[in-house]
């Protein structure tokens, strides 16, 4: 299935887009999403572990399943509230 993925901060600069589309297997997981992401955008491969993935505005582990219509996002290391 084809899913839309929101991109923020550094991830947005890598993809050049606020939102990208990726093809993952039906019944796929966050791990599948990551694999596809690394193929399409090699800069992510080197630092995949520092990018979190959110599903419907909750952080998700690699085993989390993805359904059509889920709101997906790439979350680089955050830096709000810094002082």
């Amino acid at each position: 299935m084809r899913v839309k993925v929101l991109c923020f901060a550094w991830a947005r600069e890598v993809t050049g887009e606020d939102e990208i589309e990726l093809e993952i297997p039906d019944g796929g997981t966050v791990a599948d999403l990551r694999a596809r992401l690394g193929e399409e955008f090699p800069p992510f491969s080197n630092r995949m572990e520092s990018i979190a993935v959110s599903v419907n505005q909750e952080f998700a582990g690699d085993a989390r399943g993805i359904a059509a219509g889920d709101e997906l996002a790439l979350i680089p290391p955050i830096s709000g509230g810094l002082a």
Partner: protein
């Protein structure tokens, strides 16, 4: 309770007033300001970007965790996004409780936890160009 992302200047007095009431004995506040230097570099200004929707959702989660841990319900959390100048307020927190210990713990937990789980990013602009500040990779297990 206030948990919000704002695009306009943060008013600490408003946040502190919001948490006060007659039963309150102590209010602890934290103001996070844009500094003129960062890791040895001069900073001219900053941009804060948030994941709309999710950022406020995770701020509300921080508030819920604070109620569970410290019993503090009188809380105000505000984070600004957009372009900020040196000395402007990026984040404002106020926590009130009958006794001072809980207000300090709640306020400290809020700022530490916001840094961990609220999807907001800071881009620093200095003499040598701009850089995304990437402090805290999110741990999906504990976020």
């Amino acid at each position: 309770m206030i948990c919000r992302i704002v695009e306009t200047p943060i008013d600490m007095g408003e946040l502190m007033k919001h948490v006060e009431e007659d039963e309150v004995g102590g209010v602890c506040s934290f103001t996070g300001l844009v500094r003129n230097h960062s890791r040895g570099q001069k900073v001219t200004h900053l941009e804060y970007h948030a994941y709309p929707g999710m950022a406020e959702k995770k701020m509300r989660q921080v508030a819920e965790e604070i109620e569970e841990r410290f019993g503090v319900t009188r809380l105000a959390l505000e984070h600004r996004v957009g372009t900020l100048k040196i000395g402007e307020i990026a984040v404002g927190i106020a926590a009130a409780s009958a006794h001072r210990d809980a207000s300090f713990k709640a306020c400290r937990y809020a700022i530490d936890r916001i840094k961990q789980i609220v999807p907001i990013w800071k881009k620093e602009f200095g003499e040598d160009g701009a850089v995304w500040v990437e402090e805290c990779p999110v741990d999906a297990e504990t976020a």
